[in-house]
């Protein structure tokens, strides 16, 4: 392998797990492959790994069951919160803006709900399929970009539709660092979120489709309960490389 091509192969191999990268790059060096052949081999392995992941249900569920529908709804909520804030604080208002009669209390309620929904959604996406996060992330950004292109957002910062992304990223990050969430925390989050949703709904300040955003929150309760019952066995299995590879997580 030439000195010029080596950094390219090294860069491409970063798409693989650490141990696998070590073995594959070592094999390629030992076989004295050309840069082109080495790149083909590395990309071939990466593609096969990704294709294998999509044979499981969880990546599809993460991308099409959580990321895409949730981000569509959360983009709208982000926009609504921004518009309500503009109306209440700066007294700016446009007929096409998705804002209603909400006062500061309902605005606060919406902000808390936006954070809770996004964080729980991110956490569930991270739990369902860690290795296909890039696809789920692409599905999250798509509705935001569509929103920017489709709606006139004068007076609004261009980042408004992306407000939900930060808590969602924090949710994913939390899941990647701590595989477990305690049952008490999950239950507290679920009950608070449900109570706030009922409050907003009773004040005519919640879109009916936003009730769909409640399932990741209660999913956390269900999984926290299950992982509590399974105890240490599950945490050991989740860290095992073969389990991780075969389960697609």
């Amino acid at each position: 392998m030439t000195g010029i091509g080596w950094p390219l192969v090294d860069l491409a191999s970063r798409l693989l797990d650490r141990d696998e990268r070590e073995a594959v790059v070592g094999d390629l060096l030992e076989a004295n492959e050309t840069t082109w052949q080495a790149l083909l081999n590395v990309f071939g392995l990466v593609l096969r790994r990704q294709a294998l992941l999509w044979k499981q249900l969880s990546p599809w569920l993460a991308a099409f069951g959580v990321a895409l529908p949730s981000s569509y709804l959360l983009t709208y909520v982000s926009l609504s919160v921004s518009c309500t804030y503009q109306r209440l604080v700066y007294h700016r208002f446009a007929p096409c803006w998705p804002t209603g009669h909400e006062g500061f209390l309902l605005l606060l309620c919406h902000i808390i709900l936006l954070i809770a929904w996004s964080w729980a959604g991110g956490l569930v996406v991270g739990a369902l399929s860690r290795r296909t996060l890039w696809v789920s992330a692409a599905f999250c950004v798509f509705p935001c970009v569509f929103c920017l292109a489709a709606f006139p957002l004068e007076f609004l910062p261009k980042l408004c539709p992306f407000l939900f992304l930060l808590p969602a990223i924090l949710g994913v990050r939390h899941r990647l660092r701590n595989p477990r969430i305690s049952l008490n925390s999950a239950f507290l989050l679920a009950v608070t979120t449900t109570a706030l949703m009922i409050f907003a709904w009773s004040n005519d300040a919640l879109w009916i489709l936003n009730w769909a955003l409640i399932w990741p929150v209660w999913y956390l309760v269900a999984t926290a309960r299950k992982s509590g019952q399974e105890g240490n066995t599950e945490s050991w299995r989740m860290g095992h490389p073969t389990y991780t590879r075969m389960s697609g997580r």
């Binding site: 073995a23 594959v24 060096l29 076989a31 071939g44 593609l47 073969t242």
Partner: protein
């Protein structure tokens, strides 16, 4: 039927899986990615991609037919570790099953005349 035989008979290897297990078994203690790949390419006179090799190793390991672990690093490999491979007893049985099945199904086939011990 005991669980042991139930497990062994359920596993029918694919062609490439059989090649990989046979190459790894032949290499013994020196079985690792590059050596297995070289062996398969030399025996079959066909290219063997890293993708096919490592995904098959993972699949066989998940079935319990192989065991792998990270081995030593050598200067020849730029100081990178090898992924060592060992065929398990379950893997040996599965390979033998596959070999026997191929021999049985090939019995009487026109191209199966030049078998070991058959000079014609």
């Amino acid at each position: 039927m005991s669980n042991y035989y139930y497990n062994v008979f359920l596993i029918m290897l694919g062609e490439f899986e059989y090649l990989l297990i046979t190459a790894a078994a032949g290499l013994g203690e020196n079985a690792y990615g590059a050596a297995i790949r070289e062996e398969i390419e030399a025996t079959t006179d066909r290219r063997c991609s890293m993708g096919a090799l490592y995904t098959t190793i993972d699949r066989l390991e998940a079935k319990g037919l192989l065991k792998t672990w990270m081995g030593e690093a050598t200067p020849q490999r730029g100081g990178r570790a090898k992924r060592m491979v060992r065929v398990t007893s379950k893997g040996v049985h599965a390979a033998k099953e596959f070999y026997d099945a191929v021999m049985r199904v090939s019995h009487g086939a026109s191209w199966a005349g030049h078998r070991a011990g058959n000079s014609s």
